[in-house]
């Protein structure tokens, strides 16, 4: 008899069962939980950090659907398997068919039902997701997110439940085992990206750029578990009761065919291997020694006078291969060992000095996301050291639960420092600076952006459609962004501003008149507070980056997180009265909020980057659109928010907040903190403005604060510094 026909009939039987359809319908509905109760990528506070549109309306529902669907299918699996025994159908089936074959067919049919549920879920949620995600919706991401984030959990639940049943033959006990297994994922294993099989570690999903690394990481975790649970199921398969015997007796009978236990053990070993040999995250020492990076004993007799790299990221595999050439001078007249840092995921394929093979070794340990490459230099004076390297770059293990960089895909790349090329560790520059150049070959549609000072020029188009670009810069390190970028050239405050953003985001940016906002902010803030320290020589690159939880700035360039420009954020009336004004708000953060402007440890206080930013946004809007508009959209909004805040039950009775469950506590605290930082502080600054004598006086104070000489021991702008600059006390700014 063909097992295929048996499978078809079993599947047909399941699909004729109304309980099957109940489970399917509940699974289809389950993503709604991700919009309400279970939102791993979302904070309920409308002021605080929110996630991308894809995160909000696709990843959250898919993750919730995966969790709820897994529980539903585990119950369904146990129900169906126990039902065969409970209703004595096995008395008939076992007589004519091997119970092991029947178990295999039942498992396959259950898995198939879960696939039906998954596709129906995807179909059902498609119109809603398209509508909510808006211009940045992407069909491939939709399918990928649902398949990896949601569907990935269902077969795992089915396999575990079926294995538990086959071991115990008891519904209740199997259910308890499943609850324990799922509970571990939600609690103890929750912060281990390889173990949280039910709730994968996903902190953000990009709208505008690719999510390849994140998707691969979650898919890898789910695949590891799939293999492990297939192995577990294989062991439990051997315990399927036969000949009236118990688990052990049946095991003794079933084990007679050696390929069965061998296959199960092989699967378990494979899963173990997958776990240990994961390629995504390094194994850096968790006792971080920053002195290792900053207290370097440079070699006295070896210097570097130039660096060149030829880099080939592979958009298909996510790997990177390259060759780095260093011009070194060994003045010690003896063989010397030099040390380089490379990404722990890379392998060295060749090291030559002046064309001859040079001895090298890779140190075993890893720290701070680097591995040491030790190379023996010949005693020759001038040496051209060439290193060929490559592989799949690994992320620092401290970021294991927030994976996503370095991203190498056909849509987006972010390549930094040792990901691009080995970096000398104990070799100083021969001069004051080190000329560096790099040829990078990218997919044809990509525009490469060199972060910081330097130039980028197009070199050639290759026969395969890829393009090679040459980047000239300084120093050992480079940071390269590449993607399908649109560049808007804006003249503002005497600068040529290149505003780069993703082509996918063009409709949103145009609707918000983002380029105009950039010009307005740069002109206003430069005029009122002074130029940004990181303005380049007449040009300034403002680059939208893949979601990373924040921006940063350097020589002539600044990174703006895509989170700043999501449709939801642009509609946040706490930040501005329109999308364009929210863009203004986010850009004002270039003055108030980048780098070390505010103490990151003091996130809970009222003093943050948001107060000054919101106040400045109000001032810009007032200048652009008049006092009435600014008062209505800002001052009155702040006053209403603050009035509500003072009436809030948990503000008046904080003792009740502390007894709430942690997740609710965090949500309420975030929301309250948001009101304080965005509205209360802005009102206080407005009050300070009145007390110091008006807008001009306040502008001068803020100008002085912005351009003040930093205290290197504590470079942050504090509330007290602000008060001192205004000549006011905290009590004077009280809003009561």
């Amino acid at each position: 008899m063909s097992i295929w026909k048996q499978f078809r009939l079993e599947l047909g039987r399941l699909l004729k069962n109304p309980w099957t359809w109940l489970i399917i319908i509940l699974t289809v509905i389950s993503p709604v939980v991700g919009l309400t109760l279970y939102r791993p990528l979302f904070s309920t506070s409308n002021m605080a950090y929110i996630t991308t549109m894809t995160g909000l309306y696709l990843a959250n529902p898919a993750l919730a659907g995966g969790t709820v669907g897994a529980v539903l299918f585990a119950i369904f699996t146990l129900w169906e398997l126990s039902r065969v025994k409970r209703s004595d159908v096995d008395a008939l089936t076992d007589a004519v068919c091997s119970p092991m074959t029947a178990a295999f067919v039942r498992l396959a049919a259950l898995l198939c039902v879960s696939i039906v549920a998954q596709w129906l879920t995807m179909l059902a949620w498609l119109p809603y997701t398209i509508n909510m995600v808006g211009a940045v919706f992407d069909g491939t991401s939709y399918i990928t997110v649902y398949l990896i984030f949601m569907y990935g959990a269902l077969p795992l639940a089915i396999l575990f439940a079926a294995a538990a049943w086959q071991f115990t033959q008891r519904f209740n006990l199997s259910m308890v085992l499943f609850i324990l297994f799922g509970g571990l994922s939600l609690t103890v294993w929750g912060q281990n990206w390889q173990l949280c099989w039910l709730n994968p570690c996903v902190w953000a999903v990009s709208d505008d750029f690719s999510n390849r690394r994140l998707f691969w990481g979650v898919a890898y975790m789910r695949l590891t578990w799939l293999i492990a649970l297939a192995g577990l199921w294989g062991i439990s398969y051997l315990c399927i009761r036969r000949y009236g015997k118990g688990a052990v007796g049946s095991l003794c009978c079933n084990i007679r065919r050696p390929y069965r236990p061998l296959l199960a053990v092989l699967l378990l070993c494979c899963a173990g291997l997958f776990y240990v040999k994961q390629p995504f995250v390094d194994h850096s020492d968790l006792n971080i020694d920053f002195n290792y990076l900053f207290n370097v004993n440079y070699l006295e007799n070896v210097t570097c006078s130039g660096r060149f790299a030829d880099v080939h990221p592979n958009a298909e595999t996510g790997e990177l291969f390259g060759r780095a050439v260093f011009r070194l001078q060994n003045t010690g007249n003896q063989e010397t060992e030099v040390r380089f840092h490379i990404n722990p995921g890379y392998k060295i394929t060749s090291v030559t000095a002046n064309g001859k093979a040079a001895p090298y070794r890779l140190e075993a340990g890893e720290q701070l996301n680097v591995r040491e490459l030790c190379i023996g230099l010949p005693e020759t004076g001038d040496i051209e050291l060439s290193i060929e390297y490559g592989g799949y770059p690994q992320e620092w293990n401290t970021q294991a639960t927030a994976q996503g960089e370095p991203e190498i895909s056909s849509q987006y790349m972010k390549l930094e420092n040792t990901v691009l090329a080995p970096t000398p560790y104990d070799i100083g520059y021969a001069g004051d600076t080190l000329p560096a150049s790099m040829d990078i070959t990218l997919p044809g549609a990509m525009t490469p952006l060199l972060f910081g000072s330097g130039t980028t020029e197009f070199l050639k188009e290759n026969p395969d459609g890829s393009k090679t670009w040459r980047m000239m810069g300084e120093g050992y390190n480079m940071i390269v962004y590449a993607g399908d970028y649109i560049c808007e050239e804006i003249d503002a405050a005497g600068l040529k501003v290149n505003f780069y953003y993703a082509r996918k985001h063009q409709p949103v940016m145009e609707a918000a008149s983002a380029a105009e906002s950039v010009r307005q902010v740069i002109e206003y803030c430069t005029d009122h507070y002074g130029p940004l320290q990181f303005y380049g020589n007449g040009t300034f690159d403002l680059i939208q980056s893949r979601v990373s939880g924040g921006g940063y700035a350097g020589d002539g360039a600044s990174i703006a997180d895509e989170l700043d420009f999501t449709a939801r954020n642009l509609g946040n009336n706490g930040k501005g009265g329109s999308a364009g004004e929210v863009v203004i708000h986010e850009l004002v953060h270039q003055w108030w909020g980048l780098g070390n402007m505010f103490d990151p440890a003091d996130v809970d206080g009222i003093w943050s980057s948001e107060g000054l930013t919101t106040y400045t946004t109000y001032r810009i809007v007032k200048e652009l659109y008049g006092e009435e508009e600014a008062r209505k959209n800002y001052v009155e909004h702040w006053q209403a928010e603050v009035a509500d805040y003072y009436k809030d039950f948990y503000v008046r009775h904080p003792e009740y907040l502390s007894v709430l469950p942690e997740e609710y506590q965090a949500d309420i605290s975030n929301s309250l903190r948001g009101v304080r930082q965005y509205s209360e502080m802005a009102l206080k600054i407005l009050k300070a403005e009145e007390l110091v004598g008006g807008e001009e006086a306040m502008d001068e104070i803020l100008h002085n604060l912005f351009t003040r000489e930093l205290n290197p021991e504590y470079p942050y702008l504090t509330y007290q510094e602000f008060l001192d600059a205004c000549g006011l006390t905290e009590e004077e700014l009280s809003l009561d």
């Binding site: 039987r13 004595d88 004519v96 068919c97």
Partner: protein
């Protein structure tokens, strides 16, 4: 088909000995009646013959092959109706029998299912969900699945329980017809059925074979006026020991 049981013993894990040194040979074509009081070991014997249990001692050979070596072949040529069984309530009669036909590996399942449905007189109910059937109709579905595909070896444990007298007679006759070409092992408490159709009678008591012969031989051996009397005499004599 020839089934040989050699010094077959079966002791359950709890220690209860259900069969003790049972040696029998069953050969087709034949309708073998199995009689015995409750707990005598009839169902255990049937489960052993259908590979539902493994004997603790002795062995079973199917056409000369040890049962475990030809289990697959045995299952392919077996029709079994246990005393207690369940059905998938959500399926129709036809769907359930089609499902069982697939499990049995019957190639022309459509024909086999139709034949079985006709044989048990369920034509009118073939599209009815099993959950809507009466107890007797469910029993008929059970019989239908057992006779599906004309199995070489038919094992029926109390097949006529819950059937009305007319149906009982019909099925009794059907088993008799089947046994003209194949081997049928019929366990029942209804002596009349045995007397009318069985070529051979095996009486089991306390896990041992008390009698193996024709019903007529049992009557003449006990000099009882009827098979029922003869059976009762045999059982009470055994109980007296």
């Amino acid at each position: 088909m020839k089934i040989q049981m050699e010094q077959l013993s079966m002791t359950y894990p709890g220690g209860k000995q259900a069969l003790r040194d049972v040696s029998l040979t069953l050969e087709s074509p034949c309708l073998v009646g199995l009689l015995g009081p409750n707990g005598a070991g009839k169902s255990t014997l049937m489960k052993l013959l259908t590979a539902g249990l493994l004997p603790t001692a002795g062995g079973i050979r199917i056409d000369g092959q040890p049962l475990l070596k030809c289990e697959k072949q045995l299952k392919a040529s077996l029709g079994y109706l246990p005393q207690a069984f369940g059905l998938y309530d959500e399926l129709t009669v036809y769907q359930f029998l089609d499902y069982m036909a697939a499990l049995k590996g019957i190639c022309d399942s459509r024909q086999a299912v139709k034949e079985a449905i006709m044989a048990v007189n369920l034509k009118e109910k073939e599209k009815a969900r099993i959950r809507t059937l009466s107890g007797g109709q469910r029993q008929r579905v059970g019989i239908a699945q057992a006779i599906l595909g004309r199995p070489e070896f038919l094992v029926l444990d109390e097949p006529t329980v819950g059937l009305d007298p007319e149906e009982r007679v019909n099925f009794r006759n059907m088993f008799s017809r089947i046994a003209r070409k194949r081997l049928v092992l019929l366990s029942t408490h209804i002596i009349e059925d045995i007397q009318h159709v069985c070529d051979r009678l095996i009486v089991i008591g306390k896990g041992q074979v008390l009698f193996d012969g024709t019903p007529e031989q049992l009557i003449s051996m006990t000099k009882a006026p009827s098979l029922e009397e003869a059976y009762l005499q045999l059982i009470s004599k055994e109980a007296g020991r």
